[in-house]
Amino acid sequence: MLAFIIRRLFQSVIVMLAVALVSFSLFRFVGDPIASMVGQETTLAERAALRDALGLNDPFLVQFWSFVARAAQGDFGISYRLQQPVMELILSRLPATLELAMISGIFAFLFGVGFGVYTALKRRGWLSNAIMTVSLIGVSLPTFLIGVLLIWVFAVELQMLPSFGRGDVVPVGDWWRTGLLTQSGRMSLILPAITLGLYQMTLIMRLVRAEMLEVLRTDYIKFARARGLTNRAVNFGHALKNTMVPVITITGLQLGSIIAFSIITETVFQWPGVGALFIRSVQFVDVPVMAAYLMLIALIFVVINLIVDLLYYAVDPRLRVSRSHARH
């Protein structure tokens, strides 16, 4: 078990270093860092001095190392566009993104698993067919279009829900400002959360359905029925548990995608999160922000991957044994 965790941790560090290398190259080679820091009137000599002072003439590895060391401390430099420390910018916007991602993740998981199980068990019912058809449209519908259409219906026509922003936020702790504790904050969250979660929901639903149909065909389910277990016990005790093993992995990974996809939703709903910040940085080639965002997303993915692995390990008893035996 311990060996397994250590191996996974080691792999995670390698991935982070690889992403750091990409980030660093971005930093170092996209545009001229000096040009974006100084004014037009700076002389060549001054530029050279600055170049030296910033360590831009050091060997590649030295520069890379100092980049990693600073990144590990959360220092990604100053945004070219906003002239503020990048980490400060990201931290101030992270709570908005995380709250949105969490709520839509929960929405996607609950409804995805629910619909998936329903359509697998009632394979030929009209409601299942309706859900499957709608889900196909859901997969084909670009996220931004879902958002725009939801705004049209619920904000413009029905005027039930706000169409942009986070509503009122209140501080929790030092730097976290939450919208979950105010009425307007919660109302503002509904449309973006549905927009962001819908695609993941259809994915989870289709995955659960396919896995469950597969599991329902297995011998141990047939045998469970032949033993006279109730439908409830067979479907939810046996089939669902076995379905969830692979589903957990993919669903966990989807959580990372949700954070990445929040770029789109945040733009549609003018949600003040890191995704919207990133889009701006791409438009204005604001390299420090792009590099930091890349590292942040990679970190989130790596952490989620790690958690998913451990969860997988906890759910499937076969892994526990084969791993520990295989190691001897």
């Binding site: 141990y220 045998f223 032949a226 277990l229 093993v245 008893p317």
Partner: protein, 327 residues
């Protein structure tokens, strides 16, 4: 004669497909008496397993029982409510599947699966169910049952797993066990042990067994009576010794010719020429007619129903319909 434990009457099972309806079982009738071991033999695709699945009411849609009746101790069970049928499964009819490696849910311990089954059918406490489960595992030959009961299926070897499966089939004390090729997936070395365990423990409890297999050797050693299926139809049924010593249906004769015996001096096994027709291409008349060396005009025209041949034997063959004309 006493009322049979299980009585299957003119069973028809059909599977609709894109190219028309397939009849997997076509008017099969047989009885199983209490405590009896009925062997059921036939080639792959002859309908042995489907017969077993039909009896416990688990034919997968769109397949369905399209005709006939199944009676268990004087009560029809082929048309009862799903919940009533569920109470029959496991409690009154147990089932053992072919592959022990895939019959057990890998995510639950043996104890969990046994206790769950016992408590689905019998009104006993968790503790009582566990005690019964341990005793049963011990009985089917799992060493250190009290400890190993909390292991997961993958901790057991194939033979041991099939013992667990037998324990699961028997744990709610059914009156009939349907064993569908219980040894096919196992090593030859443990096959005999598994059959012995199954036979002994059922005899102890007075449970009847329907043993589905394509191994005539196993039937000869284990069964009281044997039913031979061909292309979804019953070819012959009768006491095992009679059928083996003097098979009457030409197909059974062929089958018997294919068992190697030590006593047999001939150096080659008899093979039946040709192969069983596909279900969508069963010839008119007797299904066996293309491969039968005795076939005559009537065999191509009319389908033979099983004829009573006395001493509990029935044979579906026109050869025996002519008075005084034997084979």
């Amino acid at each position: 004669m006493a009322e049979p434990l299980l009585s299957v009457r003119d069973l028809v099972v059909e599977f609709p497909t894109r190219k028309g309806v397939l009849r997997a079982i076509d008017k099969v009738s047989f009885d199983i008496a209490e405590g009896e071991v009925l062997g059921m033999v036939g080639e792959s695709g002859a309908g042995k397993s489907i017969t077993g699945t039909a009896i416990i009411g688990l034919i997968e849609p769109p397949g369905r029982i399209a005709g006939g009746e199944i009676w268990l101790k004087g009560k029809r069970i082929d048309n009862i409510a799903p919940e009533a049928m569920r109470r029959v499964r496991g409690r009154r009819i147990g089932m053992v599947f072919q592959d022990p490696l895939t019959s057990l849910n890998p995510l639950y311990t043996v104890a969990q699966q046994l206790i769950e089954t016992i408590r689905s059918h019998l009104d006993v406490s968790e503790k009582e169910a566990r005690a019964r489960a341990v005793a049963l595992l011990d009985r089917v030959g799992i060493p250190a049952a009290a400890r190993r009961i909390d292991d997961y299926p993958h901790h057991f070897s194939g033979g041991m797993r099939q013992r667990v499966v037998i324990a699961l089939a028997l744990c709610a004390e059914p009156e009939l066990v349907i064993a569908d090729e219980p040894t096919t997936a196992l090593d030859v070395s443990v096959q005999a042990q598994i059959i012995d365990v199954l036979k002994e423990i059922c005899a102890e409890r007075g449970a009847a067994v329907m043993l589905i297999t394509h191994d005539m050797g196993v039937i000869a050693e284990t069964a009281d009576r044997v039913a031979v299926l061909y292309a979804g139809r019953l070819a012959e049924i009768g006491p095992v010794r009679d059928v083996i010593q003097k098979a009457e249906h030409p197909y059974t004769q062929g089958l018997m010719g294919s068992i190697p015996t030590l006593a047999q001096e001939s150096d080659r096994l008899v093979q039946i020429p040709g192969s069983m027709p596909r279900l969508n291409a069963i010839p008119e008349g007797c299904a066996f007619n293309p491969r039968c060396e005795h076939a005559f005009e009537r065999c191509f025209r009319e389908r033979p129903d099983p004829l009573d041949r006395g001493t509990g034997r029935r044979v579906a063959c026109w050869l025996y319909d002519r008075v005084g004309a034997g084979a």
